[in-house]
């Protein structure tokens, strides 16, 4: 009789393990949605102009610290904006990393949007002025349900890549 009890107990345990290891299913988003993943690192422009050091300036510096120009350490915050068919779906003002705000801006953002056609616009201002975006890209995309479209900034070509 005890044996049956043991078998029943282990069978119940197996069912619990087997069921909870696969069920209930998890859906991270609606079946009719797609994802825009905005991800890149970018060093914004410095807050001021670099100054070329004169020979006198260089003479005053220790030999190991002599450099051709003196640049302000701090970098501008980065303003980023993403629009879909004219509507802003994401925007942020990102502070450069580092204690002295001299590092890169890192951005990683997943944005769930409805699948289907979209007129995308991505713009970035890294000069700190009010003169609009320093970099911008437009693209017409038709997103399938579940599509993960990555938007990144390519430093070599100084432009956004949408793929």
């Amino acid at each position: 009789m005890r044996l049956f009890g043991e078998i029943a107990a282990w069978a119940t345990f197996a069912v619990v393990v087997g069921v909870l290891s696969v069920w209930p299913r998890y859906e991270m988003m609606d079946s009719g949605a797609a994802i825009l993943t905005l991800t890149f690192s970018h060093a914004a422009q410095r807050v001021g102009e670099c100054r070329t050091l004169t020979q006198e300036d260089l003479n005053e510096l220790p030999p190991n610290m002599r450099r051709p120009s003196d640049c302000p350490r701090e970098r501008n915050p980065v303003h980023i904006e993403l629009r879909s068919s004219g509507s802003v779906i994401y925007q942020d003002l990102l502070t450069p990393s580092g204690v002295w705000s001299d590092g890169k801006v890192n951005i990683y953002k997943r944005i769930v949007i409805p699948a289907g056609p979209h007129e995308l616009f991505i713009g970035m201002n890294d000069s700190g002025g009010d003169s609009g975006f320093d970099f911008e890209t437009r693209a017409r995309v038709d997103l399938q349900p579940g599509r993960n479209l990555v938007i990144r900034f390519d430093e070599l070509s100084s432009g956004f890549v949408i793929r």
């Binding site: 282990w10 087997g18 890192n106």
Partner: protein, 511 residues
Amino acid sequence: MIGRVHSIGRSFYELLRRPLARAFESKQNPLNQLGALTIFFCWIVLVSGIWLLIFFRTSVSAAFESVEYLTHEQWYLGGVMRSLHRYASDALIITILLHVIKEFIFNRYRLNRWFNWVTGIPLVWMIFALGITGYWLVWDQLAQYVAISTAELLDALPIFTDSMAGNFMSDELLSNRFFTLMAFIHLIGLPIFLVFGIWLHVFRLNGPRINPPRRLMAGALLCMLLLSVIYPAISHDKANLAMAPQALRFDWFYLHVYPLIQRWSPGWVWILLVGISVVLTIAPWAPPAKKTTVAVVDLDNCNGCKRCADDCPFGAIEMIPRTDGTNYTHQASVTDDLCISCGICVGACPTATPFRSKSALVPGIDLPNRSAASIRQDIVDQAETPSDDPRVMIFGCRDDRQTEIVRKAGGNVVTVRCMAHLQPSYLDFVLSRGHADGVMLLGCENGNCDYRLGADWTEARIARVRDPWLRKRTDTTKIAMGWLAPWANIANPVKRVGAFRDALRVTEGDT
């Protein structure tokens, strides 16, 4: 307040304990072997993992195919091993959870047990990290989800200069090195720390139960094996970073917190996880438990035999060089912080014999608040209390609900801190001096002893396989051991006493 929480927890625990107590013998009951069962599941995971490692290829492009090969081409062995690896990993989450709950609701995480409790918390983190990195390595859609979500979680910590989640932009840009790092963490790094962590978790215990009984191991292995054959673990489709994973068959044992990363934010998930860990870490001192009176060594009666040190469940006694100038080489020394006043050391001391008449009953080691002499006096007092024939002297554990039931039913009850607090010569004392016709020990069953080893040591001493053993002249048919779950309502100890009394009548009739 905390006592109320424990009490409510015990009521729920009872719902699980009752059916299992009917299905399993006490020593085979999984609930009484949760720590050892967890380690056994770890063994299954390790052995099956070694087999998987032989065929696994640690690169982004080949990992999925190698797991598919194991699952489908080599289903009869590799597939079963994969499923065993998966299901044993899941099973040990259940045993860990029950282990933590049980230790908590039975108040076995405070006083000297804080160390075992606190060292268990990083073990849980490591187990989850192992499970998560394991899912990562399959590199199917679930792995993709786990990898990206984990990276998002880690990105919330201010320790990385670049975004880790940014590595998962496309299949072409994903680095093999990153994948190899995960494999290293899962296959070598974490297992090494886990083994060390388990050692640390139990090293302050005397005789930690590392392996469950064979029958229980066989049952657990068979259970996992049959589940693996009937419902083998399979992968999702291969990871594709251009598409977001949909409708995932989710392992809720390991991934239950992941949906919160999307629903809340990684930062809040960290606050939740760290918050739970902090609460668990400070639990042994919230509020501080009342310190019990510790065992005291009497050097005039201690000959340094070491039996108390051998039997102490928590390693609270060490043998140090003699300090009183006598010819004995060592003496017992009690570490106050580790002693929880269980009295097992007294039960192990050869000088704690109630037959001493020329000198006062002062053993080499004793509990000030429940001395060996007071137990002897209680026996004498109870013997004078009227009782049904044949007379049964009942020894019960302190604060035990079963003991209280018997006492209220009019039984001649003498309480001890733990059943192993009772030196076997007391049983001889009761029977040979005619204080009773039989002795019943109502102790806490194996695995449910507050002091871990009470049932083990008592059985071994009465079976005359562990020193100090029961005298040969003592008739063991007049001794009954009733191991019970101490908090349970269902086991009727009065009936057990009655049955033992009936058995004694039969024995006396025969003679």
